[in-house]
């Protein structure tokens, strides 16, 4: 073998020299790379785009950043991370653990306390004008606030409901009038719709934040709460036990499966759309998922049934823009977020309308956006959410991971593990009390 530059054969010595040269070049390049990173634009890490799975959403975020960059000196660059690798995976947490967290990122209420207690969420209040602050209903913004300061600006509200297959109803001799209004009716109709190759109804089966999120409203409907005013756990209550038992009964009766298809309980196309189930517990984003992936599938939407003597309530999740308090420029990041979603300018309001009606199907987190997009929010299934489902929305709770895990174990144990619902609630309540006794951080909501 010869060295093509010199024409001489490669010797052991020349290999070593070349290796040392390459190593030195690599090391010399490090400061240059670091210097480049220092002067780079603010990094906005998220799971939407560019190149995300939903083109309408990807386009929305690209346009948002383009509009900001064309009018401001502090630039923003988008870093797309697939959903499974974002909060569900290692990307976001490992970037913070290594001291290289993004300047702007997205979090849901389920993760709020972990990041707030970690001291990485910047106070956005100074950048939000009073009129815009008043534009966010208390039920939407409260779980992103601590001590009266705003640490996250929601981009959407995603209430939970039930979706049903019109064909499955018709095949079973049912119609829209038969949609269940009580838990008993839900179980009964679920059984009626169950066939040899289809389940009557579907709840999320996989353990995780999403399963907890979808279960909370059933606990609230009977008056259940996580803790009382003194901070003690109230998880071991008749309402909690009843909610655990509802899901347990649905599975034990054979009306609900132990396993969901595709991406799980939040995947409406793989479950309801494929005919695997006739009724699916699902969030508002299911409308756009169906429109994009199964436009010919005929379905209806109804609000969560209530227990005897209970009160209607559903849960509203949703993502929020947050700024890294330890980022390169938290002030510019705060200005960017306020400009994007929390300003009284028509562009900012329209951006929220577009996200909730064009890019996705969601309820807006702002009163002005609901008014500005009134026509769109009143159309079709989105209209059902606006009129019947969303008015009973309660914000997704923010809980520390330890509390979330105890609740998750209770749901899994009762629903799939054959544990008595009362016993599951008692164990979880003990664990929550044990944790709360030493918990130091922002209040649970």
């Amino acid at each position: 073998m010869t060295n093509e530059l010199t024409g001489r054969p490669w010797s052991r010595r020349s290999f070593l020299k070349a290796g040392a040269g390459l190593g030195a070049a690599g090391l010399a390049g490090l400061p240059l790379t670091a210097a480049r990173a220092e002067s780079a634009a603010m990094n906005f890490m998220q799971f939407i785009g560019p190149g995300g799975p939903a083109k309408t959403q990807s386009d929305w975020i690209v346009q948002l950043v383009d509009a900001w960059n064309s009018a401001h000196d502090e630039k923003v660059s988008l870093e797309y991370v697939p959903d499974s690798e974002y909060i569900g995976g290692t990307k976001l947490s490992s970037s913070f653990a290594s001291g290289a967290g993004p300047d702007v990122f997205l979090i849901s209420p389920g993760d709020f306390l972990r990041y707030y207690n970690g001291g990485v969420l910047a106070d956005l209040s100074p950048f939000i004008e009073p009129a815009a602050r008043a534009d966010f209903p208390e039920t939407v913004i409260a779980n992103r606030m601590v001590d009266g300061k705003i640490f996250g600006v929601p981009m959407e509200v995603e209430p939970m409901a039930f979706y049903y297959s019109v064909k499955a109803f018709e095949d079973a001799g049912l119609s829209e009038k038969d949609v269940p209004k009580t838990w008993d009716e839900l179980l009964e109709i679920g059984k009626k719709l169950t066939t040899s190759d289809r389940y009557g109804l579907l709840f999320e089966t996989a353990p995780g934040y999403y399963q907890n999120f979808t279960w909370y409203p059933f606990m609230w409907q009977g008056g259940g709460e996580f803790q009382d005013a003194s901070g003690k756990s109230t998880f071991d209550s008749p309402a909690t036990v009843a909610a655990l038992k509802l899901w347990q009964d649905a599975v034990a009766s054979g009306a609900a499966p132990r396993q969901a298809l595709g991406g799980g309980g939040s995947d409406i196309v793989a479950n309801l759309g494929s005919g695997y189930c006739a009724i699916q517990n699902m969030g508002i984003w299911g409308i756009s998922d169906m429109a994009n992936n199964a436009p010919d599938f005929k379905y209806g939407v109804f609000r969560l049934p209530v227990p005897t003597g209970g009160k209607y309530v559903t849960v509203g999740g949703g993502w929020a823009f947050v700024a890294n308090a330890r980022g390169r420029n938290p002030e510019a990041a705060g200005r960017f977020i306020a400009w994007a979603l929390a300003s009284m300018s028509p562009d900012s309001i329209q951006r929220v309308v577009d996200w909730c009606t064009v890019a996705k199907s969601d309820m807006p987190p702002r009163d002005s956006a609901l008014k500005a997009g009134a026509a769109a929010f009143d159309k079709g299934e989105l209209g059902v959410f606006t009129r019947e489902i969303h008015p009973g929305t309660r914000a997704e709770p923010r809980l520390p991971p330890e509390v979330y895990k105890s609740i998750s174990d209770a749901i899994q144990g009762a629903m799939l593990g054959g544990v008595d619902a009362a016993e599951a609630a008692r164990i979880a309540s003990q664990q929550i009390d044990g944790f709360l006794a030493t918990y130091k951080g922002a209040p649970l909501l």
Binding site: S94, F96, A97, G118, D197, T205, P207, R258, P401, Q412
Partner: protein, 313 residues
């Protein structure tokens, strides 16, 4: 070349010529393994040392470190999920290792002779190895879907209707074991084929002349002479199963540790603590313990076989 450089070169060559050959070879050998050693130290040794050090801290995942000494290890003793995940891991290994051994050896015996058909079969048995584990997990997940999947339908045809292969806590772990064995059996088959080909044919011929049948040959020739291969297969598959390599991916895709934590392996729980809850210190403590368990298992294997040496009488 200037005169000074030429002089230096001559002096260097003289010095080198004075080194005995053994020493020169030793230096050359050390230089050859230096890059690999450096790589192992930087990418394995150093992270291990750091992980052990991390286990003595309470880490919040946002740059906050608080020294807790053995606090994380004490926490483990009172954590029911730690014990549950350790039990799941050991049960998983207890099911997976014998199954891998038996299937690997059986397949090797089936296709050990050279023929076109056997070559094709070897390729087919090895094929799962070249597929991404995520894909393997998704395929098995689809095969297990209640009412629709191949496995529930097959079970129903045998009179076991309504079985949920991934949704029933008493079955889910076994389903993961099946996927794990299916993925790895081709690899161990190849290792066993190598071991079988090392056994001299004369032994079988002599046994046949003495009236030994196939079964006797297997028990008295094949199995004893496969001891080194069996040792390798058992030690590697045990470490793989306990460490949760491959199994982690399958659990992540197929069950996420559910239903009711029945498939939550220790490695999955370590991942949850680190990346879902930000408890990096606690996760590092559990990872350290896992390494200790793996080292203990390896030592037991080596002690039982006198360092992996086998003598044939």
């Amino acid at each position: 070349m200037t005169a000074a450089v030429a002089k230096r070169e001559v002096a260097r060559r003289r010095r080198a010529a004075h080194l005995p050959n053994e020493r020169r070879e030793a230096i050359a050998g050390l230089l050859f393994i230096l890059p690999d050693t450096l790589g192992l130290f930087v990418f394995l040794g150093l992270p291990m040392i750091l992980a052990i050090a991390l286990s003595a801290f309470d880490v919040d995942g946002f740059g906050g470190y608080r020294f807790v000494g053995l606090g994380n290890y004490v926490r483990m003793t009172a954590d029911p999920l730690f014990w549950s995940s350790l039990r799941v891991t050991l049960v998983f290994a207890a099911m997976a290792v014998p199954l891998l051994y038996v299937t690997g050896l059986s397949l090797a015996l089936l296709v050990q002779r050279s023929s076109r058909f056997n070559t094709a079969m070897r390729f087919l048995f090895f094929a799962p190895q070249v597929v991404s584990l995520v894909v393997v997990g998704l395929v098995w997940q689809l095969m297990s879907v209640e009412k629709l999947g191949v496995l529930p339908r097959f079970a129903a045809s045998l009179g076991f209707g309504g079985v949920s292969f991934l949704g029933d806590p008493s079955i889910a772990l076994f389903t993961i074991v099946l996927a794990f064995v299916w993925f790895l059996m081709g690899f161990y088959m190849l290792i066993f084929i190598g071991g079988l080909q090392d056994i001299p044919r004369e032994y079988y011929e002599a046994a046949r002349m003495d009236g030994a049948g196939r079964r006797a040959s297997f028990w008295h020739i094949t199995l004893p002479l496969l001891k080194p291969t069996s040792f390798f297969v058992l030690i590697v598959s045990t470490v793989t199963a306990v460490a949760g390599q491959q199994a982690f991916d399958l659990v992540y895709v197929m069950t996420k540790g559910g239903p009711a934590n029945s498939t939550l392996l220790l490695i999955s729980y370590i991942y949850q603590q680190a990346f879902r809850y930000g408890a990096f210190g606690y996760a590092a403590a559990m990872a350290t313990l896992l390494v200790v368990i793996l080292m203990a298992i390896t030592l037991i294997f080596f002690a039982a076989t006198r360092g992996g040496r086998f003598q044939y009488d």
